[in-house]
Amino acid sequence: MTALSRTTSKIAIAALLFVACATGEANAEPAKVFQFALQNGMQVVVVPDHRAPVVTQMIVFKVGAVDDPPGISGLAHFFEHMMFRGTKLVPAGQYSQTIARNGGDDNAFTTHDFTAFHEQIAKDKLRLVMHLEADRMANLDLSESAVGAERDVVLEERRMRTDNDPQALTEEQASAALYLSHPYGRPVIGWPDEIRHIGRVEADDFYKRHYAPNNAILVVAGDTTTEDVRAAAEAEYGPLVARDLGARADYAQPVRLGETRISVARKDAKVPTFLRLYRVQSYAEAAPGRAEALEVLAKLLGGGPTSMLYRRLVVERKLATDVSTSYEGYARDAGEFALSAQPRPGVSLETLEHGIDDVVAPLLRRAPSKAELASAKNQLVAGVTFRRDSQFEMASAYGQALAIGLTVFDVQQWPSRIQGVSGEAVRKAATASLVKKESVTAYLTPAAK
């Protein structure tokens, strides 16, 4: 569930490597957050933070790569790019230029489930960026030549992010195998031959089906108040008319009958890599507490230098130079638990895999120790406080949660739910989720020249 952004903004890129975002505070005063809706169905969330006279606006549309039509993977991401290509009022090239001229930064990103556009700017320019967003939500002017040039830009983006990078290609193959026919297996950026199929007609149709106020969530974080946001949003977004949205296909997540194993040998790879992906439950699917237990499990197993896998494989057994795990649970359908490692020179991927399984297996039989559990939970909960330092992170946390059907309350309660995860819940989550037939294991090896 890769997030791709429109430009390699120095500000946004680091922050976009987020996996689990959530906010609120278990042990300290929670961030005060306000929510309301406009008549046309647009949802609005306000996260005040008055330390600097700056605001962040983020608009999240509940449309993503999952909604790419058959044969045109990459359309949602491509369309995100087209949103910068101009309207009658703000012609091509003028959108980002207008924001920059007013001292603001802007960017956008696309995931499988949603597409987000964001700006950070002085607080007295909030009305301006709302005006610009409202204009391009309704009045985008797509020309054939702009579509052609942007298609080339996206193909270059794909070469940079994926085709040039054997690790990224291997991940793409593993995802494609993991989800079977579900579109989470298609790359957000699209397959190259299908990106080439995108034309003006497809883009325009996509726009009409998905870009409407009743499919959007507005989050404003920063030096503002609910009253100010309400007045400005009603004036700028209020006049937009709700539309009939294209129905979202209800894709099956087919039963997996056995594990999949892939070997990728490439001349451009220098470092062997082990990767295993598990299809697991997401926040949207899981019973209360299960997704939170998976967060704790990911932290305990491979979240940093004190994690079980790092200690055992990197420090003690010297089988790996690095190992890490992650849980991506903010999805409308399945979530993903990933485990990746690089062997020490001279160690085979088979030996490394056995070493990993030797660490994972005991977790299925007994709960982690109290000290391990407490350390993992404290780090996760402190992470929430650290994310409150960033308007972008706050806007993303609420935007992505609402986009997959969670609530503001869910986000605010996350730290206390994490604190409530027991060792036994972690063991049960591991047993239920780290199941071989729900997994794809990929070996990437350097090929002989």
Binding site: T8, S9, K10, I11, A28, D49, H50, R51, A52, P53, V54, G93, S96, Q97, A100, R101, N102, G103, G104, D105, Q120, I121, A122, G148, A149, E150, D152, V153, L155, E156, R159, M160, N164, P166, G222, K267, D268, A269, K270, V271, G304, P305, T306, R311, V315, K318, T321, D322, Q342, P345, S375, N378, Q379, V381, G383, T385, F386, R388, D389, S390
Partner: protein, 443 residues
């Protein structure tokens, strides 16, 4: 520790201060550790503290034949100190959710410490221990050496990294700025734990130390934390490396590599931060390739669809400056892309910016500055970036006026001085289609 290596371009992106939007947070200088510059911004919005400190411990100080020593030592900062071995030190950080990271640079090592304010004492105690009493135990040294060697292998897969590394070597030649930040296989093999200990003793010092602190504490508590953490360090700063002599290697240098998308670095001599034309050059760079709507973005990406990203930065080192650009495109479009870059440079040098471009640059550079004040981590990083290039705290108030005072003639002069396509050093990592002449025609 995983090294945070945020591109060479990090140096000078955000800048300028606008009094019209003066931030609520004020920045104070604290005079607590002799030899060190300490700036503090009090802010209680979130119960956390961020510290960004840089020490005169960059790769330019690497002993000859032991390139990568500085980065190697930096990577071991959280691998054990005092009576805590690697595991015990990491446990202490994790137990309190303390985030300690380090970024090796050419001039400096930059340390970032982020902690809940409730754990501040422990966080600063651990950092103090790490800087003053690092252990460099044999096990940790061997393990981290293996990690850096793997990182070197990974870099050799990536055309952008290959181009950048070769560029520094070609551009600076034998000068200490020319070698890889993390060394190479041979030089790393020569570094012993004793070398690392010696290097830390002479470079993790308070002479030349720059510290920026922001967040949930007050000035006297901040002063105490800083004093106890950095006070015990040795006083003497190492001698600054000499300035490089001749720099640059004009022409196009191609490193064949079978990748779908070759990457290029293109560069020209830049400006020292003390140069009277620096800010004019900074504005010129913003218009050329620094901003999201820059001339290069328009000419290369928007009009022609040749790339996903093209940008330039005016990179500042203590002893040198570079106008450094990067672009990547498919093999059969690289020569055209380089030609477009040259033409954009030539036209800018010949005609200068428009009135509108200059006005837009000023409103962006001044108007966007308060964004740095919207986060503790961001503010500490921005303040430290100013400190690293030798600016005083008064610069925070003067900056907007200095930028607003820049004239069209200033930017024209800087552009003529900087944007000379005939001096352009271009390094391409990737295999390009055959062409009769190996070097590209200058437009």
């Amino acid at each position: 520790m995983k090294l945070r290596r945020l591109l060479v371009f990090f140096c000078f992106f955000a800048a300028a201060f606008a009094p019209d939007y003066a931030a609520a947070t004020s920045v104070k200088a604290l005079n607590v550790v002799s030899g060190a510059q300490v700036w503090f911004a009090e802010d209680h919005t979130v119960p956390m503290i961020a510290l960004v400190a840089s020490l005169p411990s960059g790769s330019a100080y690497d002993p000859s034949a032991k390139a990568g020593t500085a980065a190697f030592a930096a990577a071991l900062l959280d691998e054990g100190a005092g009576n805590l071995d690697s595991g015990a030190f990491q446990d202490a950080l994790a137990k309190h959710a303390i985030q300690l990271s380090v970024e090796p640079g050419r001039d400096s090592m930059t340390v970032t410490l982020v902690t809940l304010s409730s754990s501040a004492k422990e966080a600063f105690r651990l950092l103090g221990l790490a800087l003053a009493h690092p252990r460099f135990d044999a096990e940790a040294v061997a393990r981290v050496r293996a990690q850096i060697l793997t990182e070197l292998e990974e870099e050799s897969e990536n055309p952008a990294s290959v181009a950048e590394k070769s560029f520094y070597s070609l551009y600076f030649g034998p000068h200490a700025y020319g070698h890889s930040l993390i060394g190479d296989q041979r030089s790393l093999g020569a570094v012993t734990p004793e070398d690392l200990r010696g290097f830390a003793r002479t470079h993790w010092v308070r002479g030349g130390l720059k510290i920026a602190l922001a967040g949930d504490t007050n000035a006297s508590a901040a002063a105490n934390l800083i004093r106890s953490t950095f006070g015990p360090l040795a006083a003497d700063a190492p001698a600054l490396p000499p300035a490089p002599g001749r720099v640059g290697a004009p022409g196009v240098h191609i490193l064949p590599m079978p990748v779908p998308q070759p990457a290029a670095i293109f560069a020209l001599p830049g400006l020292l931060r003390s140069d009277p034309d620096f800010l004019a050059g900074y504005v010129a760079n913003y218009i050329l390739g620094g901003g999201s709507s820059s001339r290069l973005t328009q000419d290369v990406r928007e009009k022609r669809g040749l790339t996903y990203d093209v940008s330039t930065d005016l990179v500042v080192y203590r002893r040198s400056g570079i106008l450094l650009g990067a672009v990547a495109t498919r093999s059969d479009a690289m020569r055209q892309t380089i030609a477009v870059v040259r033409e954009t440079l030539r036209k800018f040098a010949a005609d200068g910016p428009t009135d509108q471009e200059l006005a837009d640059a000023k409103t962006y550079l001044n108007g966007s500055f308060p964004i740095a004040y919207a986060s503790d981590v961001g503010l500490a990083a921005q303040l430290n970036a100013f400190q690293q290039v030798g600016l005083g705290i008064d610069y925070l108030d003067k900056r907007a006026g200095l930028i607003n005072a820049i004239t069209l003639a200033d930017v024209r002069r800087a552009a003529r001085r900087l944007f000379d396509p005939s001096r352009l050093t271009v390094v391409v990592a990737g295999t390009l289609p055959m062409q009769k002449a190996e070097s590209l025609p200058s437009p």
